[in-house]
């Protein structure tokens, strides 16, 4: 088994839990509620789920954009959540992130040179003199060129902006890149360009990815292993081909069957879930999926199922796995 690069243990993130000075107390939103997984070197780890399942928050916590409420995140054996600001700065070089919305992930008032050059300057990897040349090299890596250096974000199309976001993330020569819905704001034809680019960069630069997406087709295409999240929990985790071909959790199965297949002969969703996702601030008792699950029993409403081995390298949190 490949070497583990990142290990997440019992990560918890509650929003609004901490009481601010003179502020009213609110019911915390349990965005991420105790998840554990590991990312291996050179692999793409897919994190899928519907809106509000906590997949993006997980990414933000690992990148330490958000501070987790509890848990441990080991990067190369070191718990990065315990690091102080200065030490964290060193780790930042190794863990980078590409954001969902290319339109808002670049400061509209900064030229490409400034946006993409910022990480180099902050970490002293370039001087004012050679930053231009180094940024150019990054742009070329993502399929852009010298003519783009002094332009502003609004002069680019969505796909090009996302290339810029990728260039910025690569500036520090990271080992792990967290891709937070990198193509969901793009048109399909452009999405394909970006996915191809990500794939090529991974093999050329030896990157590991955490690929966060609600688009199962894209996750299936890009990731080696996939974790399915539901209301702040991982419900199933396994090698992508196995998980897609033979899902063991009822939620995974419903999710997979709900994808509209671009083939009119396909029957459409066989399993249509009832109702909407419950609110993450009041998750159901026991298994959080039991309110929408066909196979739910009394046990499911009472006891929360643990993530258990259901096959080789394959985990599912279900009392009655498929």
């Amino acid at each position: 088994m490949a070497e583990v690069l990142l290990e997440v243990k019992n990560l918890v993130k509650h929003f609004g839990a901490r009481k601010a000075f003179l502020e009213p107390v609110r019911r915390p939103v349990r965005a991420v509620d105790g998840i554990s997984f590991s990312v291996r070197r050179l692999e793409t780890f897919g994190l899928v789920g519907e809106s509000g399942c906590g997949k993006s928050t997980t990414g933000f916590c690992i990148a330490r954009v958000d501070d987790p409420t509890a848990g441990e995140v080991y990067f190369e054996g070191m718990d990065i959540l315990k690091l102080g600001a200065t030490e964290m700065r060193g780790i930042r070089r190794h863990i980078q992130m590409v954001f969902q919305d290319p339109h808002s992930s670049l400061d509209p008032r900064m030229t490409v040179l400034k946006s993409v050059g910022a990480p180099l300057l902050i970490h002293g990897l370039a001087t004012r003199r050679d930053v231009r040349e180094k940024v150019l090299r990054l742009l070329e890596m993502v399929g852009l060129g010298v003519q783009h250096l002094d332009r502003y974000p609004h002069q680019f199309s969505g796909g090009q902006k996302q290339r810029l976001g990728i260039a910025r993330a690569l500036a520090l020569n990271p080992e792990l890149v967290i891709l937070d819905e990198p193509t969901s704001a793009l048109d399909v034809s452009v999405q394909a360009q970006i996915l191809n680019l990500l794939r090529r960069l991974q093999s050329e630069l030896g990157l590991s990815y955490i690929f966060i997406s609600h688009n199962l087709g894209v996750v299936r295409y890009l990731s080696h292993r996939t974790a399915v999240m539901h209301l702040g929990k991982i419900v199933e985790l396994g090698p992508t081909p196995v998980l897609f071909a033979r899902p063991r959790h009822h939620y995974t199965r419903a999710l997979l069957s709900a994808i509209p297949v671009p083939n009119p002969r396909h029957d459409g969703a066989e399993i249509i879930l009832k109702g909407d996702l419950p609110s993450p601030s009041r998750p159901p008792s026991g298994c959080r999926f039991h309110t929408r699950c066909d196979a739910a029993s009394a046990l499911c409403a009472e006891k929360e199922p643990d993530l258990r081995e259901v096959g080789e390298d394959h985990l599912a949190a279900c009392h009655a796995p498929l």
Binding site: R220, P260, P262
Partner: protein, 342 residues
Amino acid sequence: MNAANLLEIHGLHLYFDTYLGTVRAVEGLDLTVSRGETVGLVGESGCGKSVSALAILGLISQPPGRIAGGKILFKGEDLLKKSPAELRNIRGKYISMIFQEPMSSLNPVYRVGDQMVEVIMLHRRVSRGEARKIALEMLHEVQMPDPEAVMQKYPFEMSGGMLQRVMIAMELSGKPDLLLADEPTTALDVTVQAQILRLMKNLVKKMNASVLLITHDLGVVAQTCDRVAVMYAGQVVEVAPTEELFTDPRHPYTRGLMGCFPDPNRQDAELAAIEGTVPDLINPPGGCRFHPRCPRAGDICGKEGPGPVAISDDHVVHCFFARQASDDHSEGGTGKGVAVLG
């Protein structure tokens, strides 16, 4: 006008006059929707699909918008010649529209029920009590659990999927002949999308309404539509029955779009991305608007716009090479059509 056709759009030209010049958003759109039929209008952002739907309802603000030509025949009458008052009468009663963001289509400070009652009173010209009854009935139709309670809620108390149900209930309450649905499920999660699509499908069948479904998602189209029109840069490039479109796409753009979907059986292959970006519609490319990105463009493509080529009775392609296209199916995966990056 064919009597079976509920809606016929002929040569619609829709321009927007901006400071920088005229945006030729829709140029020569032809489209028909017959009774009881669900037609998909597919394309990427900025291809003119949404504004076309707004034009049907007379909802393009003029200026900056300008209808520069064409006819929109609804039941044989040209909607573009109707007065604002006549259009208001048609909207909601004969033609309804559902938008992508249900939250912004509802007023946040009024209860959902009150808004529904208001709309139903307007469209059906019934009393408040009657309208309330219809509202409850419709909420029942869209499988809303506990309609009574839903009526009392404010929009922000409900999820996106629930709100979209409310919108569908509201828009179908007038028993319209035609429903325009602009990306109705794009903002929703897949499990909810599946519910809403099935719901819409069943309801329109029951009411024998026609639907013009505007979407960028070929998967959604494949699952819901009878016929599909593919738009690119303001023009329809291919129209075909859904099944035929997916099994025998003839336009290079249509084939390009399909190639962009990750194929679960070909994990290691590069995706067949379409090179380049959507053109500037102030100065669109001459000839076929797709030719700068087209893998099989010839000299002629830059010079003149391709006319319609009928592949079969209801399969029309705007491409000079439409008749040859079916021979080399694998072609979309090689050549210029694939973005070879770096």
